[in-house]
Symmetry: C2
DNA sequence: GTTAGCACTCAATTGAGAAGAGTGCTAATG
DNA sequence: CATTAGCACTCTTCTCAATTGAGTGCTAAC
């Protein structure tokens, strides 16, 4: 357990370091208006904090730098989110005031505004389809053996995927099928579509239609969940303005990761609800061991739809980013729910 | 007009510089197997080439570096495309052998493989819709005032956009309308859809349907061409491996541009058919004045569908990239045409 | 418990010298 | 007369040592 003074000093050091990116010395802390101790006293406390693992020294004659453990303590106990600046709120408003025609636009805009307001990199995972329900299903035939399956969800989201029609299947049968699907499946949440397909429909189907197995396959294929959720990335180049990545090689390692969307969605995979902060080596991916990732989920009717996140150096403005993500995730939720009506 | 020997020396210097990124001295040229002149002779020629504007000297006691004019001459008269390496052909094959379900997949894959094979940044502009024709049109109603328009092209490409239904329009009328559209418009190239809509359909429509103007608006809105073609970017981080951009600030300027897809499509706007090379300051955009952009269009039945391009430093492997773009643009054309059938 | 004082450490900066790469010019050469 | 050897000269880059300065840790005094 840290004393009040230790907390105060740790806060001061983290805040200072976040601002300046330079190791913080005892003198500069002691000079702060709200501090009334001499550098020597601060030094003693700093030595203690270092022994406890909250601070580190790049080398003996430098100031102190927060360790990962230090940041963790700061995030858990010291930081004051402090809300979103008025200016930022205004910019978000005006950004979302634009006419957005597709669902994806909301997400894309959110990603852009996040990176602009923070000067970090923003990563946003689009809503996954299975959280919604089926509104309309249709097959459009292109030629003898191929068609496009079109799925519209209750939220107006449209998915489409090409389908191969097996040899010898009657178009007639397929159409019958699609009609039946629209009767039975509309309103069913995607999460349950598959089971309903098998339990309620398969049996009935077998009576009317030849080779129903194959047709079922086609349907399952077209209703299958998309593999990877869409990833929206914005402000990747902002990484380059961080002094810790002025070394091009380090920067390249990170940007390489950012280009692989599959890796990015992995990064988010373990995100629970609410706001989560992963600091430095808490991230399993080695390339971003010097980064922190803050994520928030946006929800609709209590159900998690997707995730928005900010990636920056461990020396990140935690308070600001946390407030912002909190605010924006709720904003997105509101926008989504409007869409919903 | 350059003498044969000058051409040879210019070629040697450009080739050397592309390989090494270091100013090329007279000695290193003279040591090449196919050169039988002393350094002094080379120096004389180099001085001449510099006076003519083909070479530059970073400082008096350094070797020579090609100027933009030098690269231009090299690209126009000296470079030998030399075809695509067998290894590369194999990798392209295996990459395209993957099952690609959407049209966008082809383009996305092309972008990825391009950046991987060249270690530069690849930019690919997706095919624009208006080059295809209408296969199927449909409105799916979501609630009283909104619907989703779904457009399927003959190539299996699906577009969808939300539509607002004006107050007081009969669903019935809308449906009639859609049926009529499907009768009249299927097979019509998008480029002509608008005019057909007005000339053949508007008049007939007016007879059957109330408030036809408004409905026509809805339809036009839903059939309107997408504003900006999709941009696929790959290997942006490769810029960081170029020695000329080891300075983070320079790199950031470029990456910032790459993040703005609208700017990217502008970049391509002036691309004519065939292969085009824009060297250094020939690019109007200032941030990429130290880059070269090579573009190629891919066509279907003689009609340009889209553009693939490579952005790299002016010190780029022009021969290799030109061959590769040429090869790949034809490959894409073939893939697209298969899709077409 | 706090602080002034001081010796000590180590990175960063500076400057001088040496090394090296390459040039331009001149004069010799085949 | 084109080519080339020779040489002085230029300019960058590297290295090394000295200096500077920020910051610490410890001790002794308050």
């Amino acid at each position: 357990m840290l004393s009040e003074r230790q907390k105060m000093i740790l806060t001061a050091i983290v805040d200072d370091y976040i601002r300046s990116a330079e190791p913080v010395g005892s003198r500069s802390i002691s000079k702060r208006a709200d501090v009334s101790f001499s550098p020597a006293t601060i030094r003693n406390e700093m030595a203690d904090l270092e022994e406890l693992g909250y601070l580190e020294q790049p080398h003996t004659s430098a100031g102190r730098v927060p360790s990962n453990k230090g940041y963790r303590y700061y995030v858990d106990h010291l930081v004051t989110p402090g809300g979103v600046q008025e200016e930022d709120v205004r910019r978000i408003r005006s950004f979302f005031a634009e006419k957005m025609t597709h669902w994806e636009d909301v997400i894309g805009h959110a990603s852009t505004i996040l990176s602009q307001l923070t000067n970090y990199t923003s990563i946003v995972l689009g809503p996954e389809m299975f959280t919604t329900s089926l509104k309309h299903f249709q097959l459009v035939q292109l030629n003898e053996h191929s068609a496009v399956a079109i799925i519209v969800t209750n939220t107006g989201h449209v998915e489409h995927r090409p389908v191969t029609i097996p040899e010898g299947i009657e178009i007639h049968d397929l159409e019958k099928m699609v009609r039946m699907l629209n009767d039975k499946l509309i309103g069913v949440p995607f999460i349950r579509v598959k089971s309903v397909l098998h339990s309620e429909i398969a049996s009935e189907l077998a009576r009317y239609v030849d080779r129903c197995e194959e047709i079922l396959n086609v349907l399952e294929q077209s209703l299958a969940d998309q593999k990877d959720p869409r990833v929206y990335l914005s402000g990747a180049a902002n990484m380059l303005s961080q002094p810790e990545f002025k070394d091009v090689d380090k920067a390249k390692n990170i940007l390489d990761v950012l280009e692989e969307t599959t890796k990015l969605s992995q990064l988010f995979s373990s995100a629970p609800g609410g706001i989560q902060v992963k600091i430095g080596t808490e991230n399993t991916m080695e390339a971003i061991n010097q980064c922190s990732l803050i994520t928030a989920t946006y929800t609709l009717d209590g159900q998690s739809l997707g995730t928005i996140g900010i990636l920056g150096p461990t020396r990140m403005e935690y308070g600001k980013v946390i407030s912002l993500l909190d605010y924006l995730s709720q904003d997105i939720a509101v926008l989504m729910s409007r869409w919903y009506k």
